[in-house]
Every structure is written in structure tokens, then in C-alpha cells.
Symmetry: C2
Subunit: 335 residues, 2 copies
DNA sequence: AGCGTCGCCGTGAACGTTCACGGAACGCGA
DNA sequence: TCGCGTTCCGTGAACGTTCACGGCGACGCT
């Protein structure tokens, strides 16, 4: 009983063999007899021996990569579908994925915790960028839906300006006269903690929905309930709104539910369109129109950045790598 | 240019300082002057130095735990909500979570890959248990919804027998006369790869739904589309079925969608009840009744097993630890 | 001048495993 | 008996970092 941990030497001593023989037994290597293998395995089990994965990986010069993924919430299908895509993208390369969400703590804490276990961290990081790269302790950060402004931080951003302009044009062609927006109360990709800052979606909306539409904005929580509540408030304050854009699909589902509750016909009385492009939107009644974000593309761009950062030339190519993905309208029946 | 990797010594040499000074600079430790810290940081960046997390964790005697989580799919909210719960449960303990899903490969491969990076692996493992524990190379496995039959494998199981009996009783009280079941084609928790084996849900159904109901079973894929397709086939073959139990909520959503498409009133003409208890079921029209699985309890039991296994007395307490969770009906309007 | 303190920096020795060897014991044919 | 191959097993030396020291100037105080 040295200083706590049971090492390979303890097992070797107890079994009356050498280190190397224990290794052979544990890892199923050849050059060991059936008898001793079983002996070693048995005594290892009795002692409760558990190899140190750190020592093992170090000694074996294993180059296995792990990327941390920080999401807003695992209860929002958008994030989990993004996670699914990222897994699909990085699995062929043999990378592992460490998961974390904002529900577990401050982004800076999450990054700090992850930095010891991951070779790169991608995802949504609210908070001060400088603090984030400091917490990362040298492991590269790839931020989503927010441009990178400090070295060490990279990004894949969404071009909402282009996307929302096109979306609103088409909605007008379909008869929309008065727009409204259900905006996010505490932007996941925002800057300050707790402090509200208009999201890129809102900025694009206000730029393209007409001068009088900037007033028809309510903020709501990022949940089904929040979306329902938001729509109720929006309609109370602006009864003339005939087309509402909702921050994301989850909230849009809540909004549609609320509309149904209030006897408002969708899309007859009110056009509803979300953002995200969740497949679950298709099973709503009516199916939800949405500004679809190509999560596969997001994942691929992020993985691409990580790849060039990790496997690329020794010096980091550029201060910051930024790539862009443009959302596209997905017309279903709700608008 | 030793043998590829840039080590701390390379940086030290390039900066004209010692190992320890580089460590101090990289980790923000005291006992170093401002000048040299910046010098070291700069040369480290130029060289593209990236500390080995394995060496670091080993030398620092860090005891950070990581648990692997193997799920069926990240596109099924049931799994991701379970993941969310597990994260919530283990985050306070400071554990990390490595994510993997069946979509990325065979469970045995996943376990083998994860075993090098995780201290324990929990989740859904189709396939031969012995092969799984072999692939785990000593790291404990906690299996969900399937009892453990070999040492090294532990489990948290679901008591569908009790739950489904109660469910069917209540459905009969509500007027159900003829039951049907949409069963899973390729059970995630099954035994063989590809080879069909009745799930515990089906076994319980057949035991309690009456002798004539065993025939009214169709198998379908684990997806919304699969559920829709399954219901269509079930109704074609058994038009007299007035109450259908669907393997999970995702498939049940598809079934409801199909019913609506076919002009079948739910619950008027057909009662539909799923399994899982997804919160998203509440936004369906009509809201989906379901046999709710307490994912928080599942996660807590799994984490509990891992905890006793890892922190417990040196010898593993028992050949196998098995804990049970009982699903409970969640009545909404679809039944 | 002597002494203690403080700030900065460097040197062995871990940490727990795997890799590349080398070597003993045994069997077998010539 | 010798030679040779097989099978099994053990011994340094890595792997790349952090920890616990110890050293060495500079400075201030008595």
C-alpha cells in the first residue's frame, strides 16, 4: 500500500511476475502462457487494478485526438443534431468527443475543465473571448455563430443578413404585410453574461423587415414555453402582425402551440417561421417553415478548422480562421 | 527536430530557459518575471508547441474521471435527453463525458475505442456481452435496459412487465378492446447484430395484452418514418385494433402523423401511446400519451454504479451490479 | 560587514505505462 | 553432445510533464 494507487508493479509483485508480463496479460499480447495470463488477470481483478490511461497513452505514444464540444443545451434538438453531425464527421478520423453544455456552468469554467482533456474545443461560448482563450490554456477554440476577434479564437459564422433578407422577400411575396419577431432573451452566443445584446438574427431582421417592424419585437426564453409566452405578448402588443419570425424552431413550436390555443389559424391568420430546420418541425400541425441551418456544414467547417490547426504546419496559419455558412429557407406549411 | 513532436524541452532550448520555466509560463504560475513569461509564450506559439495532455495529467497525478456514453442515436430525443440527465448528474462530481453512438460503428468497436479514454462506459450495447467486456479491457461497463449476465458487466434495467401491465389495465378501463403493437425491427438493446429478438417491451405486451393480441404486432424502423409505416401496416392487417402501443415516442409521433394522414381520429378511432415520455410529445396534436421512462433516475443509477465501482473498495463488490427503474404512464390526450 | 529575505530560475526525481531488447528453459534432430 | 529454434519471461530505457528542492544574485536592515 504505497501512496494510494494500485500500479502495475503491485500486480506484478502479487502475482510473482514482472511488469511486462502483466502488460502482456492485460492487453492480450502473445508471448505469455495461458496459465500465467489467467493468474495475472485474476490477481489484477482481486486487487482492483485499473491501468492509468494517462500513463498508457503516454508510453504508447498514442496520438488519439479528442475535441470538446460545448453546447447551449442537450434538451434543444438543434444542439443535439449538431452534435450528431459533428460525431459523424469526426468519427471516421478516429477523434473522440467530450460533451458539455451551458447548463453545467459558465463557459469559461467549461473550457477550463475541458482544456485538460481535449486537443481542441468547439461550440457556443458566451462570454469574454479573451477570458475564454486564457482558460483554454493553449488549446484552440472554434466558436460558432460569432466572429472571432482575438488570436487563438477561431470561428464558423452564419450569414443571417443574406438569409433573412431573402426569407422576408419571399414572405412578402406570399402576402406578409406586417412582421414581428420573437427574439432570444439571453443570447447563447452573446457577449456579456446576463446582459442582453441583439442577436445577429435580430439585427438582420431589423435591417430588412422595414422601418416600422423594429418595434414589433419581444424577447423570450429559449424553450417551448418561452416561445408560447413570447407569441402571446407579441400579439397582445401588436395585433396587426401577420407574420412572425421566431428565434429558433423550439420556440416556434411553442408559438404555434399558443396560436392554436388562442384560436389563431396558421398560416391563415398568422404565418410562423422558425430558425434551425429541425426535422421534428415536419411533424407539427401544420408543419413548421424554417430558416434551415446546415448543421452538417457547420460541423464540417469546425472540424476542418480543427484539422488544419492540429495537423497543419507548426505555426498556426493565421491569427484567426473564420468560415461562413448561409442558412436557407425550408418552406413547409406554416408560412 | 527530434522524432516529430515538439516537447517542452524544445521550447526551453529555443527560449534559452529551463523546462520548469516553460511550465511556469504556460500554466500561469508565479516565480517568473513578466519578461521571460512573454518570451516563453511567444516562442512556444512560434514553435506551435502543444503540451501533451497525457504527460501532464500523469505527472500532475490528476484524478479526473471520464465516462464514456454509448447511445443509439443522437437524432432521437430520448437518447439526448438521457445524455442531458447524465451530464447534469456527473458534472457536479467533475466527471467528463465522452460521447458515441451506434451510427458510428459496432458497439464492440466503440467500446474498444472508448476504453482507452474513459474510466467507465455506460449506455446501450447491442452485441455479445463477453465480447464487450473483452473490448473494454478492464474498464467497467454499465448497460441499460438489459440485464448483465457476465462479470465485468453491470446494468440498470427497466421493469416493463410491471409498467405495461398497469398501462394496459388502464387502457382497458378507458375502453380499449383490441391492442396492437409497433415493435422495433432491430433492437438496440438486443443480443445479436441484425438478428431480431423480441424486446422486453414486446414480451411484456404479449404477456398482458391478451392471447389474441400477440398476432397484432408489426416491426418497424426506429424513426418517425418507421413509426408511420408501421402503423399503416398494422391497420391494414388488423383493422379492428383500437389501441396501439408504439415502441418509442419518436415512432409514435410518426404513427400519429400517419393516422392523421389516413383520416383516423386520435384518440376517437384509435388510441396511441408511446414509450419514453419525451417532452416534445406534449406539443403534438393531440398530445402524446406515453409510458414515461425516468431518464434522470436512469442516469443517477448508472452514475451510482460507476461511483461505487470506481471509488469503492478495491475488490469489485459483486460480480454484477443491477438496478431497476420502473416506467410510469404519462396520460395526455392521445389515449 | 554580516545576515536574512525575496524574486527568479534550474536540476534530479517522480508519475505509471509500453517498447526494444536480452536471456533462460526446453525440445528436437543430427 | 552440440546446435538451433520456440516459448516464455524479465530488465533498462523511454514517453513528456510536474513536483520538491536548491541555488544565486540583489536588496534591505541592523
Amino acid at each position: 500500500m504505497g501512496s494510494g494507487r494500485i500500479t502495475i508493479e503491485d500486480v506484478a509483485a502479487a502475482a510473482g511476475v514482472s511488469r511486462q508480463t502483466v502488460t502482456r496479460a492485460m492487453n492480450g499480447l502473445p508471448e505469455i502462457s495461458r496459465r500465467t495470463r489467467e493468474l495475472v488477470l485474476r490477481t489484477a481483478a482481486e486487487l482492483g487494478y485499473r491501468p492509468s490511461r494517462f500513463a498508457s497513452n503516454l508510453a504508447a505514444r498514442r496520438k488519439t485526438r479528442a475535441v470538446g464540444l460545448v453546447l447551449g443545451s442537450l434538451r434543444n434538438p438543434y444542439y443535439t443534431e449538431l452534435a450528431a453531425e459533428l460525431l459523424d464527421v469526426v468519427a471516421p478520423r478516429g477523434w473522440h468527443v467530450l460533451m458539455a453544455s451551458h447548463e453545467q456552468g459558465d463557459a469559461v469554467e467549461l473550457v477550463a475543465a475541458l482544456s485538460g482533456q481535449a486537443d481542441a474545443i468547439v461550440g457556443y461560448f458566451p462570454g469574454d473571448e479573451a477570458a475564454l482563450v486564457a482558460a483554454a490554456r493553449g488549446v484552440p477554440l472554434v466558436q460558432m455563430e460569432r466572429p472571432a476577434t482575438v488570436p487563438g479564437m477561431h470561428a464558423v459564422v452564419l450569414d443571417f443578413d443574406t438569409a433573412i433578407e431573402a426569407l422576408l422577400d419571399e414572405l412578402r411575396a406570399r402576402g406578409a404585410r406586417r412582421f414581428g419577431l420573437v427574439e432570444l432573451a439571453a443570447p447563447a452566443a452573446g457577449d456579456g453574461a446576463g446582459r442582453y445584446r441583439p442577436t445577429f438574427r435580430r439585427q438582420a431582421y431589423e435591417r430588412h423587415a422595414g422601418p416600422d417592424s423594429a418595434a414589433a419585437v419581444v424577447v423570450a426564453d429559449e424553450s417551448i414555453r418561452g416561445g408560447a409566452d413570447g407569441l402571446a405578448r407579441l400579439r397582445a402588443a401588436h395585433p396587426d402582425v401577420d407574420t412572425v419570425l421566431v428565434f429558433n424552431d423550439l420556440m416556434a413550436m411553442g408559438a404555434m402551440q399558443q396560436a392554436q390555443l388562442d384560436g389563431v389559424a396558421v398560416p391563415g391568420d398568422l404565418r410562423v417561421v422558425g430558425v434551425d430546420g429541425l426535422s421534428l418541425g415536419a411533424v407539427m400541425t401544420p408543419p413548421l417553415s424554417t430558416l434551415s441551418i446546415d448543421r452538417r456544414a457547420l460541423a464540417e467547417e469546425a472540424a476542418g478548422i480543427v484539422g488544419t490547426l492540429l495537423d497543419g504546419g507548426e505555426p498556426p496559419p493565421h491569427p484567426s480562421i473564420v468560415r461562413t455558412v448561409t442558412p436557407r429557407p425550408l418552406w413547409r406549411e406554416s408560412a
